[in-house]
C-alpha cells in the first residue's frame, strides 16, 4: 500500500504556513508597503496552515489499513 500523498502535502503546508504566519507576527510592518499594507504573510500563512492540517487529517483518517478495522495511527501512515 502506498504512502497517502495527503500526508506529505499536509506536513509541507503546515510547515510553510507556520513559518509564514510566525514571520508575519514578528516582522516590521514597513515590509508590507508593497502588498498594499496588508500583512499577507500572517493571513496567507494561517490559510496554508489550515489547508495543511486538513490534508494531513484526511490522509491520516481515511487511509485504509489492511490489517484490521480499527487501525492505529502508526500503521495508518504507510
Amino acid at each position: 500500500m502506498h504512502l497517502d500523498v495527503r500526508l506529505p502535502i499536509g506536513l509541507l503546508f503546515c510547515f510553510i504556513g507556520i513559518v509564514l504566519a510566525a514571520y508575519g507576527l514578528l516582522s516590521d510592518r514597513e515590509i508590507y508597503r508593497v502588498s498594499l499594507g496588508i500583512n499577507v504573510n500572517l493571513g496567507w500563512g494561517i490559510i496554508l496552515l489550515l489547508f495543511g492540517a486538513l490534508m494531513f487529517f484526511f490522509g491520516w483518517k481515511k487511509h485504509p489499513d489492511p490489517s484490521g478495522p480499527a487501525p492505529t495511527p502508526d500503521t495508518r501512515a504507510h
Binding site: I9, V34, L36, V40, W44
Partner: protein, 600 residues
Amino acid sequence: MNLTVIDGVIILAYLIFTVSVGALLKRYTRTSTDFFLAGRAIPAWVCGLAFISANLGAQEVVGMAASGAKYGIATSHFYWIGAIPAMVFVGLFMMPFYYGSRARSVPEYLRLRFDEKTRAVNAISFAIMTVFSSGISMYAMARLLQSLRVLDSAFGYFNVSAAYVFDVSVIASAVIVLVYVLLGGLISAIYNEVVQFFLIVAGFVPLVFLGLKNVGGWQGLVERLPGAYTHAWQGLGSSGSNPLGVEWFGLVMGLGFVLSFGYWCTDFLVVQRAMAADSMESARRTPLIASIPKMFFPFLVILPGLIAIALPTQLVRQPASSAAAAVTASSQSGRGIIPAKIDERTGQPELDADGHPVLDYDLAVPNMLLHYFPPGLLGLGLVALLASFMSGMAGNVTAFNTVWTYDIYQSYIRRNASDAHYLWMGRMATVFGIAFSIVTAYFAVHFNNIMDVLQLVFAFVNAPLFATFLLGMFWKRATGHGAFAGLVLGTTAAAIHQGSTLPAGSDSGLKGGWLGAVLHQYPSQMAQNFWTAIWAWSACFLVTIFVSLLTRPRNEKELVGLVYSLTERVKDRHLVWYKRPATLGVAVLLMAAVLNWVFW
C-alpha cells in the same frame, strides 16, 4: 531585490521535501511496472492533478502570463477551447483503449493497433522531444533566476561570483529531479507533481488577489485596458479585428481541434499519468478531474499578465537587467511593469519595425512577484515558479525513460531480458536523459536558432498525429501502411505549408517562406501555426484512408480491445449516475461553455 533568510528557509524546505518524498517512495519501486507505471495503483484525483501538473511547466506559468500581457484574456482560448474539449474526449472515448489494451505507453498502443514502423516513428521522435523539452525548461529556469538577480547576495555570502548562478541553477535542478525520479520512478514524479500543483496555486492566489485589489477588481482592470483585452471572442469574426490575428475558424479547427486533441489525446507525457490509475474508471476520470482546475487556471496564470500591463508604468523595483542606465531606459520605454527588451550590445531598448520598443513579456510574472510580495511570501512565490519548472522537467524525464526502455530498448536492442534488467535500464535512462537535457540547456545558450529549428520540426511531426489515432481507434479498416504513410506525408504537408507561407511583418527564414516562393501571408504567426496544423492533419487523415483502402486489412480478431467498433463498451451502470465519467464530462463542457459566455 535579494532574498532574505525567511525566503531561503521556505525554498530550502521545498527542495528537501521533494527529495524526501522520493526517498520515502523508494521501497514501493521494486519492479519495472512500479517504476514506469507507478504499479497502476494511484487514485483518480492524484492522477488528475499530476495530469495537469506535468503539463504545467515553465511554458505555462511564465508563457501564459506573457501571452496574457500581449493578447489579453483571449489567451484563455488555450484552455477553454484548446484543452477542455480534448481532455473530455480522451477521458470518455480514448482511455478505454489506452488503459484497456494494457499497452504500457502510447507508442506501444500504435504497435498493437498498427505495426512496428508506426511505433518507431512515434517513439523515437517523442523520446528526442522530451529530452529537448526538459533541457529547455532547465535553461528557462536558470535564465530566469539569473536575470532576476535574487540569488546574487546568497552567492556573495559564500564568496561565489554571481556569474555562476546559471550553472548552479541548471546543475541543482537536474540533480534534484534526478534523485527523486531515480528513487521512486513514476510514483515519486506523480506525488511531487501533486505537491507542485498545490504550491503553484498557493503562490499565485495571493498574487492575483493583491493585483486585482490594486487595480480595482475585474471592473477596474476592464477600465484600464483596451476593450479587446478583456473579451475572448469579440472581434474573432475576422483576423484583423483581434489581437491574436486569427479568425474563429482557424482558432476552433487549428487550436481547438488539431493542436489540442493532438496534444492531450496522444502525448504520452500526460497520458502516462492516466495510465498509472488504479482502475479503468479512475483512468477515465483522470483527464476529467484534471479539466476542472485546468479551466480555472487562466485566472491564476493569465490575469497576472493583464494586471502587469494595466499598472501605471514605473521604474520597477528590481528590473531584470544589469546596467543601471539600461534599467532606466528599459522601464521608461516599457508598459505597466513590463520592461522593454534591452539590446545587449547597445544597452538601448530593442525596437520593432514601427519603431516601438519590444516588450519583454516573459518578465510579467517575475516582476509581479517582486512588485507585490514582501519577504516570506516572495519565497513562496519563487517556490511556485521552481515547482512549475521542475514538474515540467520531471514529467518529460519519466515519459522519456518509459518510452526509451519499453519502446526502443526492449523492442530493438535487447528483447528478452529480466524485469530487473529493464528496471535498471529505466534508472540508467533517467540518468542519461537528464544528462542530455543539461547538454541541451547549454546548447540553448549558444545556439538559439538551432533550438527554434528543432521546435519547428517537432511541431511538424506532432501536427498530424491525432488523425492517426482517430482513425486507428474508430475505423477498423485503417492499416499500418496507411498510418505510416499518413504520418510521413502529414509531416511533409506541415513543412511545405510553413515553408511557403509567412506571417505579416516577417522576413523569409525560420518563420516561413524558406521554400522560396511565398504563396500566402498570414496576419500573425499564430494564424500561420494553426493553419499549418490544419493542413498537416487533413493530409494525414486523407492519405491514411487512401493507403489503408489500397492495403490488406488486419484480421478483426487481432483488433479487439484496440478499435471502438470491435470492443465491448466500458460498463459504468453500476455507478450512481453522477459518478459516471459521461456525467462528469458533460458537466465539465457546460462549465467551460459558461466561462466562454461570461468572458465573451
